[in-house]
Point group: C2
């Protein structure tokens, strides 16, 4: 069945990477964009990013599609060290969508943009017949101004860099899964969905160009993001599994359902690869910000003939952390 | 049923205008964007526009969703006198979409961008389950550089301006309708879908700032675009019905189906309001370009206490051309 689209093509893992490389790359002179946002070649130093949000359900503990659509695009700009400035919003509404649902999404989107001082400057609205959509799909495209001469990039990790994460991983994925499947959890897990402009500003102001890579581990989670960094920078990454912050409830749900928290989506976390000299200051900067209180150093970039992510466990044993392959959790963003 | 979304909300007419004003305006400090592309306030002179394309069927005589998605966004930038430079592409794929359909759309999109020297700089791909989408939805967001200090705007029509159209109207709407309903037409009608960067460049180079307004009459056709110009500029517009170029086959299909060609969508035509001193040169510039050979002067901007579009017919009688109200043709773009 390789001639039709499957859910795996949208899951953020290996199938998706192949779809991008084999088919969608035709749009880009043969290479797909590797980073969260593209930097406009020449001319003004603009960063541009686009994302469509097809999350189901439209609201979940900690957020809704509007907040997610704004935060997701703001975060992609921040991952290139850009100051988010403008956003466009494309709506695809399904006939029969309650106006109240639309209103909620729009007001959350607007509130999240306001928080980051981002102006919505253009929009588009389309309506499809009942059964030809799923309530509400939101596309947001963001434009930001790049400050640094060498903005952080997925291609810029170098051996010796420390790998930091800004807090507990997997919250968004588990929160959406629980809301969708109506899982009977003892304590509610909320999505971490949040705009990271302030956290990134704090990090960059503390250690500047020592920040080599910034990524937000969304679809495919930490596993996908680290594998992409390893491939794009042609390095290896050593990950200390016990250092990775995962909430016990998130770990519990993942164990029951056979999911790996390292593959679960996040919408308010970042991964940073930072030069060793700046790592301690970077950690402190993250921890001093409300959205980075649980930040941790979780690994190190190493020389490697093949780009891969190795995990060391508490028992001193090791394994390779692969790019997630098939469908993990569909429509998580 | 005012509390749910209906197909009329997407049809480009009065219901849609109300949805934008009453609900979606919350995104924009209380006022919806009036033009085809927004000009970024302050800083570099950028024009930005976004559009989602949900056309059905995905291919039709004269084009496909990929060509349409590229041309539509290029044209929206051109309507602000901007040079289109960059595009982002957001794809929402339905599980089961044939890979061949995706390939065709991507290669058309790319070819159309190449024609206008536009680079695709960022993208996003999402997959939804079978029955939660309709094959392929494409969002394109465009960024262009604004040249003129006073770019053409829907708000800039002044009494005395001549109203020009660049060729036959209604081709796209009728072509898509015929393809969708499998109408037995004697001669095939092809969509006019085309990027208008060259035509606009020829026009601006001929008459420069005499071009006060540029609009592409897409959803809702000439009727919708002229009513928007009248409202945005607080003027009246006199339209000479017999001067409006409409192909006999298009007129024929519209008569049979009870549709008004003036309300039918176009994807490769422009409307210009031009100062009287420049009108003849503007017409000549349009007619000298392959995409404007059938251009015509079709009316005049007039002083009016209420912004409205008056049509004079061949018999010397008059009527008001209203904003199309309900659902015209769903999913025409």
């Amino acid at each position: 069945m390789k001639d039709i689209i499957t859910m795996a093509h949208g899951a953020g893992g290996e199938s998706m990477r192949r779809l991008l490389a084999d088919e969608i790359a035709v749009l880009y002179d043969g290479h797909a964009d590797l980073d969260d946002a593209a930097i406009v070649p020449g001319g003004p130093r603009l960063a541009v990013t686009t994302d469509s949000f097809v999350i189901s359900p439209l609201t979940f503990p900690g957020g809704d599609v509007g907040k997610l659509a704004a935060a997701g695009t703001i975060n992609d700009l921040c991952m290139r060290g850009a100051t988010p400035l403008y956003m466009t919003v494309g709506l695809i509404l399904e006939e029969g969508l309650p106006m109240a649902t639309l209103r909620l999404a729009l007001s959350s989107l607007r509130a999240t943009c306001d928080e980051a001082a981002v102006a919505v400057i253009a929009g588009d609205t389309k309506v499809v017949q009942r059964g030809k959509g799923d309530g509400l799909f939101v596309n947001t495209t963001g434009v930001g101004m790049v400050g640094a001469p060498q903005p952080p990039s997925s291609c810029s990790a170098v051996p010796g860099d420390r790998v930091l994460v800004s807090g507990y991983l997997g919250d968004h994925g588990v929160a959406v899964l629980a809301a969708r499947e109506d899982l009977p959890l003892r304590t509610e897990i909320a999505s971490d969905c949040a705009p990271l402009h302030g956290l990134v500003a704090a990090l960059i102001s503390a250690v500047g160009s020592d920040v080599h890579v910034l990524r937000d581990p969304t679809r495919g989670g930490l596993a996908s993001a680290l594998n992409e960094i390893a491939a794009d920078s042609a390095v290896g990454i050593m990950l200390e599994e016990e250092a990775v912050p995962v909430r016990p409830q998130v770990r519990g749900v993942c164990e029951i359902l056979g999911l790996d928290p390292l593959c679960m989506a996040n919408e308010g976390k970042l991964i940073a690869c930072v030069a060793p000299s700046g790592a301690a200051a970077a950690l402190e900067a993250l921890r001093s910000h409300p959205l980075g209180q649980d930040a941790a150093i979780v690994g190190e970039v190493i020389d490697s003939a093949t780009p891969r992510v190795q995990v060391t466990t508490g028992l001193g044993t090791g394994r390779v952390l692969s790019m997630p392959a098939g469908e993990l959790l569909p429509r998580i963003c």
